[in-house]
Each structure stands twice: as C-alpha cells, then as structure tokens.
C-alpha cells in the first residue's frame, strides 16, 4: 500500500502542539507491561529484518543446522553473488531509474496543480479537486484498475517500454502529492503573492520564486512517499512489462521465489538488497515520512 492516506491525516491532525510531556513516575507493573509491549513490537517488526540479514550471509550447511546458529558461522557473500549473477543488479538499476523519473515528474506535475487549486478560481475547480481527492484512495485498488489499464495500454502500444512504469507510478502517486503540497500552500500567506504582483511578477514567477522555495518541506515529504511507493510497487510492475531488462525489483524477487524454491539464502539476499535503499531513506528521512503522512497538520 502506498501512502495514499495522507488525506486522512490532513483532517484529523488538527493543531500539532509541542507541549512538554507530563511524565509521572510509572508504577513498576506499568513499566513492566510497557517494556513487554515494546519488546514484542521489536521482535515482531525488527526480527524478520535481522534474521533475514543473518540468513543471507549463511552458507547452505549453516542454514540447515539445528539448533539454528545465530552468530557462530562463517559469513559469506555467496548468496549475494548468486542473486547478482541472476541479473538482480539490472533489476535494481531499472527500479532506481523508474523511481527517479517518477519522483521528479510527480513533483513537477503536482506543484503547479496544487498552486492552481490553492490560488486560482476557475470553472469546475471544486469537482476537479474532488476528483483528485477521490483518486488518492482509488489508486490503492490497483488490482481492479490494472486489468483495464493493461488492456488499454496494450491497445495503445504503451506496454513494455522504459516509460511504461514511470508513467503508471506517477499517475498513482500524483493525487497524493498534490494533496500534501496543497496542504502546505494553504499556509503560505497570499499577501506574498499580492506583493509580488504589485512588483510586476508573473504568476509563473510567483510559483518559481515564492511558492517553490517555501514549499520545500512539503516537496520533500511528498517526494519520499512517492519514492517508497514506487520502489515497493509490485502489481503494475509484474503486469505491464515483460522483458527482463525492464523488470524492476519487486517482480524480480517474486520470480526468485519460483526460481530458487526453498533456497532461502539467495531469497533473503535479494530481499536485503531490495530493502537497503528503503532503510537508508527511512533512517535519514523517517521524520519526513511521518510528517508526510500527517501533513497539513497546520490546518485541520
């Protein structure tokens, strides 16, 4: 699922307050319950990553040892070598290119659209914006959309090309990006525009010199979510392109499941390669992801 639900956050967030947290000394029982809950969360959410990482570094015999070894094994990169020999670097490269094109084009289309919806009055503005809002959750239903989409793109000859997936990803992520950015534009005072107009600036000049610099945090938040959503996309990726050279990582990993069968070494190695960029993004920009999800908190 992609970040389609920013909309939800925008209304619910209300006014974000930074108040000093009132922390009272917790009774012992409460402390134990909290520690237990937290450990359970850590186990459920982080253990698959850690164990997957360890598995990907094990040679075949170490994988089947019982009881399982945790650290006492000779780490090897053989699994990674096998995955890379199967062409996984090509898949990663394809994914990376798709994601860069998608992030750039989604933001380039979303910023002017958000600007128009926030600052101008034009015929059908309200119903058109409604359509954008409706498209945010609609692109969650990719499974239902993709069959008609596949038929239509086949008819037009748009499948199986380098631009096929960026086109689809951008369309799926665009409504959410418009919504996030519009939320921030609402907070930029209109007086700035008026002053610029009085100084002889054009509408495009305002967009370029006032709106663009001031909406950078929103562009960042939207961009991160667009990146994560496109990197993780599976359904469109597996349907719309056939040729191995165009195949991004998610369907490539899915194919590995059939190809490597129960060989969990190479399988986990490919999984690790797929999540490294996401984890790096998350470590550096985790706050942006959360704020992207809850964007628009300034105005309920």
């Amino acid at each position: 699922m992609s970040a389609n639900s920013v909309a939800t956050a925008r209304l619910s967030a209300g006014h974000e307050r930074v108040l000093p947290s009132r922390r009272r000394a917790l009774p012992l029982v409460g402390g134990i319950i909290i520690a237990a809950l937290f450990s359970l969360l850590m186990i459920l959410n982080l253990l698959p990553l850690v164990w997957g990482m360890l598995t990907s570094l094990k040679a075949e015999p170490d994988l089947f040892r019982f009881p399982p070894v945790i650290f006492d094994f000779a780490p090897t990169l053989d699994n990674y070598k096998r995955v890379i020999e199967s062409g996984f670097l090509g898949n990663m490269q394809a994914s990376l290119i798709y994601c860069v094109i998608t992030v750039v084009s989604a933001l380039a289309l979303a910023l002017p659209a958000a600007y128009a919806f926030d600052r101008f009055n034009f015929p059908f503005r309200q119903p058109l914006f409604l359509l954008i809002v409706a498209s945010i959750p609609l692109s969650l239903g990719a499974a239902a959309l993709l069959i008609p989409n596949y038929l239509y793109f086949t008819k037009l000859g748009l499948t199986n090309a380098w631009f096929t997936l960026p086109l689809i990803y951008t369309a799926h992520q665009l409504p959410m990006a418009i919504w996030i950015i519009k939320g921030t534009l609402e907070g930029i005072p209109k007086e700035l525009d008026e002053a610029a107009i009085a100084d002889g600036a054009s509408h495009f000049g305002i967009l370029r010199h006032i709106i663009l610099p001031l909406s950078r945090p929103a562009l960042g938040a939207a961009g991160v979510l667009v990146f994560v959503g496109s990197w993780n996309e599976f359904v469109a990726s597996s349907v719309m392109v056939d040729s191995p050279a165009l195949r991004p990582i998610q369907p490539a990993i899915y194919n590995f499941i059939g190809f490597f069968g129960r060989e969990w070494g190479p399988l986990t190695a490919s999984a690790m390669l797929a999540i490294i960029p996401i984890l790096i993004t998350f470590a550096l920009l985790g706050r942006l992801i959360v704020s992207g999800l809850t964007k628009g908190s300034v105005k309920g």
Binding site: S5, W51, P137, N149, L151, E186, Y254, G300
Partner: protein
C-alpha cells in the same frame, strides 16, 4: 488569456496524465467487457455475456465469502490494535513516542512482497527461526500453511502486521489534534481514564477512525501480493481472495472476459468506498 483560465493551464499536465492512466482505461474496460474476447482481442459484441458467465461461475461465491472474511477480520483487528497502540504511544511523550512509532511503521515501509517473504521465513517456515524454537522446546512441528483455517488466520495476521503502522500514524495524528484541555478538564471533574477515553477521546477520533477503516478495507480487499507470496492461494483454494482470482483469470488461465468483468465489479465496489472516503474527508478548496 482570460484570468478565469490562468489556473486551468497549471492543472492541465496533471489531468492529462491522470486521464491517460487512471480515467480512460475504466471506460475502455467497460467497453471491452461487452465483447467476446479471443486471444486477448475483442471480437464480436457480447452484451452482458461476460458478466453472466462470471456470475454462473461456481467458484465465485466462495472467493467472495473468503474475501469478506479476510477483509473484515484484518480491518477490525488492525483498528482495535492500532487504536490501543496509538493511545499508548501518545502517552509516552515526544521522544520515546517517536522511537516506538518508527519501530511500528517498519513493516509498512517495506514492500509487501519482501515483508511477507521475510515474515514467512522467520515465523512460518519449518526450518525458520520460530519453527526451530518450537522444535527445540520439544513440541511438534506446526504446519500453519497446511490447514485451510490456520492458513487464513495467518494471512489475516500478516496483513494486520503489515498495515498496522499506517493506522497508528494516522490515529496518532488524530490524538495529537485533540486539545489537552479537554482531558485536563475531565480529569479535574474526576473522570476515570476509561471514562475519558470512552466519552472524549473516542468520539473525537471518529473521523480518523472511519477514514482509516475505509483505507484499510480498500487495501486489504485489493491486495494481490500478500496471499500470492504467503500461501499462493492454498491450501486448495482456502486463501484465494478476489484480487488473486482476477489476476489468475487474466494471466494464468487467460480468461480476459471474466477477468475484466470481475475487475470492473471490484472497481465499482472500490468507488463506493472512495465516495464514503471523500464524504468524510470534507475536502476544502
């Protein structure tokens, strides 16, 4: 240019793309579904024949029922757990709360394919970690994927695990939007924590809760990857739900006629949910 149309030129590129990729395929799909399909191409006009064939398909009621059970269970469990987690995180304070939030959202930022694969390896596989621990404790091996009920239960569990982070973030934002004074005032008046939650927090969270419920329903009802990677729809057809059925019809058995009919039926189901979403979202212009 007339000032009335200045705004329009800024939205044209975005709408051109959305029309190409999101809107026109729906109309094309409806048109296509009214024809007999051979080798992926429309041949002669068929009217509602494809839809009739779909309705006559004896496997459809079962698939529908499983989809409803799966979605209903996954959504309600996710909502209850995420609400509890969000309330807990909200009380933790800024720094610790943020840390927990980051841990909670990890399965959500990883792709469904990879998350499901890793979950299966660690918690389900018989030579995986959980399986080995069970064996070390001298218990019998458990093959969750071999029985229809436990496979479905597992599918629900993975879905909850994968999507709960999103729900927590949204509900947490909702909680932060409730002014502290309300709770303060109630406490001074002698309300118990449960009363405060029941009478103040919960009613004020109604909108975010409903929105989360709709989004979760949409994403569970349309998930292809979770059953595909976890169970492959098995054992038998026990975890075959609608989206997987659509994809198998289209790309495994090449029955594009019924696949398109079913996909469109799902699409209009999605539209109903989206309308509810938009109503709640009370968009502003």
């Amino acid at each position: 240019m007339h000032p009335k149309y200045t705004g329009i030129q800024y939205i044209i590129p975005a709408f051109a793309l959305l029309t190409l990729v999101l809107f026109s395929p729906v109309f094309y799909g409806v048109w296509f579904s009214l024809f007999h399909i051979q080798y992926g191409a429309a041949t002669t006009f068929a009217g509602v024949q494809n839809y009739q064939d779909l309705l006559a398909d004896p496997t459809l009621p079962g698939t529908l029922q499983r989809s409803i059970i799966f979605t209903g269970a996954a959504v309600s469990i996710t909502i209850v757990l995420s609400l509890a987690l969000a309330v807990w995180i909200h009380k933790l304070g800024e720094r610790r709360g943020f840390l927990v939030q980051m841990v909670v959202i990890v399965p959500w930022i990883i792709s469904t394919v990879v998350a499901t694969l890793l979950f299966r390896w660690v918690f389900v596989n018989d030579i995986g970690l959980a399986g080995s621990i069970v064996k070390m404790m001298g218990l019998d091996e458990i093959h969750l994927l071999n029985s229809p009920h436990s496979a479905m239960a597992l599918l629900i569990a993975v879905s909850v695990w994968k999507r709960i982070g999103y729900a927590v973030i949204i509900l947490l934002a909702g909680l932060k939007g409730i002014p502290d004074d309300y709770e303060e005032a109630a406490r001074i008046d002698g309300a118990t924590p449960w009363q405060i939650f029941r009478r103040i927090t919960f009613p004020l969270l109604k909108t975010p809760l409903l929105l989360v419920a709709i989004v979760l329903t949409l994403s569970n009802l349309n998930t292809v990857e979770t059953p595909l990677v976890l169970t492959g729809g098995g054992p038998g057809d026990a975890t075959r739900i609608l989206p997987m059925d659509v994809f198998d019809r289209a790309f495994i058995t090449y029955d594009l006629g019924s696949a398109t009919a079913l996909a469109l039926a799902m699409f209009f189901g999605n539209v109903l949910l989206v309308l509810a979403y938009v109503r709640l979202a009370k968009w502003k212009t």
